[in-house]
């Protein structure tokens, strides 16, 4: 595998197979922790770490694990790294830990992880597997960040905790409530779809 193809794997995860906007997976953290941009990024990076590390390990062990216990082993590996992240965050910042709540632990159950481990890492050598996983992770982070920004700006009038519109701004509380999460995600999905449509129209428009 040459470097450019690894890089393609990486880009795939960010754009063509973006876990949030294209595959629509990992929805729980996507909606739950994106009330602020910081939370979103932290969650995204934590997931990226778990994704990369576990895909690497799964790929290394892919010949050693019998089929019947495949899922269980992958889950074990993922859970290990999640626990690692969980404690790491506790050690780094308790505020962040509080903000992300149980969703750090729930990274285990994030469909993206098992999906990647099963569909990609278990079938590919370590290097591309890891690249792909990290790409996915960044794609996920990007998605979370996009949602987090909108929710924080409208919901609190702030970005990264910095007030944007002065103290008389009326926050749109709904944005930080559960429905707001849905709405912002849907908004991005529509923007994404519109963009894809525009692109495909452009391609079709070229006389063949």
């Amino acid at each position: 595998m040459s470097v450019p193809s690894n890089f393609d794997e990486f880009l795939d995860g960010i754009w063509k197979q973006n876990p949030i906007f294209v595959m629509v997976l990992g929805m729980c953290p996507t909606l739950a922790v994106t009330v602020s941009a910081v939370n979103a990024i932290s969650m995204g990076l934590a997931t990226t770490f778990v994704l990369g590390a576990s895909c690497l390990l799964v790929s290394l062990l892919r010949h050693a694990i019998p089929k019947q216990v495949r899922i269980a082993s992958y889950i074990l590996i993922i859970a290990t790294f999640v626990t690692v992240v969980d404690y790491a965050i506790q050690a780094i910042s308790l505020d962040l830990y509080e903000a992300l709540g149980a969703y750090i632990k729930l990274i285990v159950a994030n469909c993206i992880l098992l999906g990647r481990a099963e569909a990609h890492a278990a079938k590919n050598p370590p290097l591309p597997a890891t690249f792909n996983a990290i790409g996915m992770g960044f794609g996920f982070t990007l998605g979370l960040f996009a949602i987090g920004c909108v929710r924080e700006i409208l919901g609190a009038g702030k970005l990264f905790g910095i007030s944007l519109f002065g103290e008389h701004f009326q926050p749109w509380v709904v944005m930080v409530l559960p429905p707001g999460g849905f709405f912002v995600l849907a908004g991005w999905l529509i923007v994404f779809a519109a963009f894809e449509q525009y692109k495909s129209k452009r391609i079709q428009g070229v006389p063949s």
């Binding site: 089929k67 082993s73 404690y87 506790q90 505020d95 509080e98």
Partner: protein, 226 residues
């Protein structure tokens, strides 16, 4: 992909593989746990102290205690509170004088548990302030319990003195509708955030009912402690 007829894996192989992965994972986890434990503990202690300083600004030293049915014991040396224990913190000032007790109260609010830390003045038998440990209440509504001056006024001296038999509060702490406070043991709710206000009142009441009867008789032990 080439061998299409998969062969049945033997049970032993499966047990071995899964067992091995489990053990490796377990060891990694213990490792990271042990490794991060000091930092996390330090963090937690820092956070606690920060909270305590907010409600008792002159505090210097915070000691964790457990109030059990049999008396109070210092947390030092126990890594786990006894099952029926109520955790509280004795707070001392720079002169090592016991300046107050802090304890946690929690109850279900509008969205989730509302956890607050309250300061108790054992001399006057009143609550002298509250701070929020964690909550997920609606910004702009529920979180006014942090910012609403009138609401915080309630806790300047919230009456929690014990009844004659020292078994319960003389007057249960209660949150009442905004503008209808009629006793020092009542909390005047924030209009528009009644649910959250009630959660605070309910939490404090529960915690005080459990803690104070055990605490008061043993106060001297704490005074002497440092």
């Amino acid at each position: 992909m080439s061998d299409t007829k998969e062969k049945q894996t033997s049970s032993f192989e499966m047990v071995r593989a899964l067992g091995l992965v489990s053990v490796i994972c377990g060891i990694i986890i213990v490792g990271i746990y042990q490794f991060t434990l000091p930092a996390a503990d330090a963090n937690r202690k820092l956070a606690l102290e920060r909270q305590v300083f907010k409600i008792l600004p002159d505090a210097k030293n915070v000691v964790t205690y457990y109030a059990t049915g049999k008396g109070i014991i210092a947390a030092q040396g126990h890594d786990k509170p006894p099952s029926d224990a109520v955790v509280f913190y004795a707070v001392y000032d720079s002169a090592k004088k016991l300046m107050g007790i802090a304890a946690e109260a929690s109850s279900a609010g509008y969205a989730d548990q509302v956890r607050v830390l309250y300061a108790y003045d054992p001399e006057k038998q009143v609550i002298t302030g509250i701070g929020v440990i964690s909550m997920r209440e609606t910004p702009g509504i529920g979180d006014r319990i942090l910012t609403d001056k009138a609401f915080l006024e309630n806790f300047a001296a919230l009456d929690v003195h014990l009844s004659a038999d020292l078994q319960s509060l003389a007057n249960a702490v209660k949150t009442v509708k905004h503008g209808t406070r009629s006793g020092l043991w009542q909390i005047d709710a924030i209009s528009g955030a009644t649910v959250t206000s009630k959660a605070v009142g309910r939490g404090i009441n529960e915690s005080a009912q459990a803690l104070l009867p055990r605490l008061l008789p043993q106060l001297d032990k704490l005074r002497k402690a440092s």
